[in-house]
């Protein structure tokens, strides 16, 4: 992921689009503009975007259909829909097609900017595991998928190395100096909302530790050898859930 968030604005109302662009540019985001869903899809095919903000009611394809198409193109695409026509049905439909949220116009811009800031800051995945070989291969897989990765090979440094701005912590259960649930307890004390995904090769041996960890809000436990598609899917789910929570509250 690049430094500046790349945001695509889609709205056939020129003034809504241009005012949004100006506001986002002032925040330092990189923005592009499409006046129609078709143009938006074309732009999305040519370049990657971190976030797409689109109106729903437009000529031609609706914003909801655009959202579905974009997510087919890029499965973890962050899509936010906006509308002047607040209806529960429409909201539900948008969320069903993968939108993170359906925001009402007039927009609460302070809230939206807060969310985008969060999106930008929390891009890194941190891996806490004392097996260097595992870390290296996993890191390669993730960076090739566009994630930025931070490795923490000594669990004693975990608490200091974690900034709290990670999108998720991949936490091994059987560490040299402690078990995963003890490390998690320490992390939770400081970062109660930080998403954590457990990994282990010792499912049977670590069973009770895993249970304790899940009880303090670990998202799930994956078992080594990791099945890559399953891992990626879980990571996307965790991210999406967390972003939704931030955007909706």
């Amino acid at each position: 992921m690049n430094d500046a968030l790349r945001i695509l604005i889609v709205d056939d109302d020129r003034y809504m689009a241009s005012t949004l662009i100006d506001i986002l540019n002032m925040q330092g985001y990189h923005t592009e503009l499409a006046y129609s869903p078709e143009d938006a899809l074309e732009l999305a095919r040519q370049a990657e975007f971190d976030c797409v903000i689109s109106d729903i009611v437009m000529q031609g394809m609706s914003g909801v259909a655009l959202c579905a198409a974009l997510r087919q193109l890029q499965p973890e695409m962050v899509v936010i829909l906006m509308t002047a026509y607040a209806s529960e049905q429409q909201s539900a439909k948008g969320l069903e097609k993968g939108a993170l949220a359906v925001l009402n116009k007039p927009l609460d811009l302070a809230h939206l900017l807060q969310f985008l800031d969060f999106l930008k800051k929390t891009q890194t995945i941190a891996i806490v595991d004392d097996d260097p070989e595992f870390c290296r291969t996993l890191s390669n897989i993730l960076t090739s998928r566009g994630y930025s990765v931070k490795l923490i090979l000594d669990d004693r440094e975990a608490l200091d190395s974690i900034s709290g701005n990670e999108q998720v912590i991949l936490l091994d259960m059987k560490l040299n100096n402690a078990s995963g649930d003890e490390v998690l307890r320490k992390i939770r004390q400081r970062y109660p909302n930080l998403p954590v995904l457990l990994v282990t090769g010792y499912g049977v041996e670590m069973a009770s530790a895993i249970a304790r960890a899940l009880a303090i809000d670990a998202y799930a436990c994956l078992y080594k050898p990791l099945v890559v598609p399953e891992l990626l899917k879980t990571l996307a789910e965790i991210r999406s859930r967390h972003l939704k929570k931030v955007l909706s509250h």
Binding site: D13, Y15, M16, T19, L20, D22, I23, M26, A84, Y85, A86, N104, K105, P106, L107, L109, A110
Partner: protein
């Protein structure tokens, strides 16, 4: 049963007969009577009839009419007459009869005798009376049903109006949110763009922003009015609800609110947010009724079994009698500002919670609005 007798020949057809008097013409009285079924109709024996005039055995109200017929026959105006009249049965009961009579004259035209047949139509008359009664009943029922239908029709028309109003409101409201969104964006941008702008500039940006919020709230209220309200019922402490409403709809400086609600009121099973809004509407109306200040009295009491009434009474301008009927109609307002939805919404919400809302007013003295809501069943003793 009818008996016809001709003087001097007495018919044996088994009919009962009457004596007709000729006193005014000097003709002999009392034609001998065949008695066979005399008793069947009037219960008299023939000898008993001989000593009585027809007037004596006739129902008094019918004597005049009968006399008129007799006179008409005697004077030759007509040759025969047919009419109904009442006689007294020997036992005193009133018998309705159908009387057919003709005057027989001799060759010179002098009256000889009356030939009369009498039919007991008491049952028929009773039946007619029954029918008359049923007819009247039927007409009353039709009138009542017509009234019901008219009321139902009025309701349908009103609902139709509300539905169209809701749609229009929805359309307009949504459309307006687009330009409001752009204005909101523009103000946000200007604030960020010039964080060190002159205070006056900041003030004006604030004004624009506040007006955008106000406009959005009006749209929100309008859209909510058109929507059907789903009700989330829960046990609610009334005194706390009223206090919350007072917080949410703050009292202007020159208005004094006297809260006479006792703390130990029974709990209500209502949608808390909706009833806060209703109470709030009534409070705001009360505030606006007293622009130069005044007193508002809040009270509550158990109405009939199972109902609690909450009253908001102001000492404001009051409501004119001609406006009382239209008070809860949507878009009805006597104020310069405002759409006139407050009371219509209040009524809608109150009714959705199983209650009702009523208004009392004395122009110049003030108004009282009362909402009556159901108390939780389990707590009724």
């Amino acid at each position: 049963l009818v008996l016809v007798v001709r003087h001097p020949i007495i018919s044996l057809l088994g009919l009962s007969v009457l004596a007709s008097g000729f006193s005014s013409l000097g003709l002999p009285y009392a034609i001998p009577l065949k008695t066979l079924l005399c008793q069947g109709v009037l219960g008299y024996l023939p000898e008993e009839l001989k000593s009585r005039t027809w007037q004596e055995i006739s129902y008094p109200d019918d004597i005049e009419a009968t006399q008129a017929e007799v006179d008409a026959l005697l004077s030759g105006k007509k040759a025969s007459a047919r009419f109904t009249k009442r006689y007294f049965h020997k036992n005193g009961a009133i018998i309705w009869t159908d009387v057919s009579t003709a005057l027989r004259r001799d060759a010179e035209g002098k009256p000889l005798y009356f030939l009369t047949s009498v039919l007991d139509i008491t049952q028929r008359k009773q039946a007619e009376e029954e029918i008359r009664k049923l007819n009247t009943e039927l007409e009353e029922r039709v009138a009542a049903r017509t009234r019901e239908l008219e009321i139902a029709q009025e309701q349908l028309v009103r609902q139709e109006k509300l539905a169209i109003l809701g749609q229009l409101a929805g359309s307009v409201g949504h459309e307006l949110r687009n330009p409001l969104g752009v204005i909101g964006n523009a103000v946000f941008f200007l604030r960020q763009f010039q964080p060190d702008a002159d205070d006056k500039v900041k003030e004006y940006l604030g004004i624009i922003e506040a007006q955008v919020h106000t406009a959005d709230k009006i749209i929100h209220d309008l859209l909510n009015f058109g929507r059907s309200n789903s009700v989330i019922l829960e046990p609610v402490q009334v005194s706390q609800l009223v206090k919350d409403a007072l917080l949410r709809f703050p009292t202007p400086g020159n208005v004094r609110v006297v809260n006479n609600l006792p703390d130990n009121l029974p709990e209500l099973k209502i949608d808390r947010q909706q009833i806060i809004q209703v109470v709030g509407n009534l409070l705001v109306n009360a505030y606006q009724a007293m622009p130069s200040g005044g007193e508002i009295i809040l009270s509550a009491q158990q109405a009939e079994m199972g109902w609690l009434s909450i009253s908001v009474r102001d000492h404001g301008v009051g409501i004119l009698p001609e406006n009382m009927a239209k008070l809860f109609e949507p878009l009805f307002t006597t104020k310069a500002r405002g759409m006139g939805l407050g009371l219509a919404v209040s009524q809608k919400l109150t009714e959705a919670n199983g209650g009702k809302i009523t208004a009392f007013s004395e122009p110049g003295a003030g108004s009282t609005f009362v909402i009556t809501l159901p108390i939780i069943e389990e707590l009724i003793t």
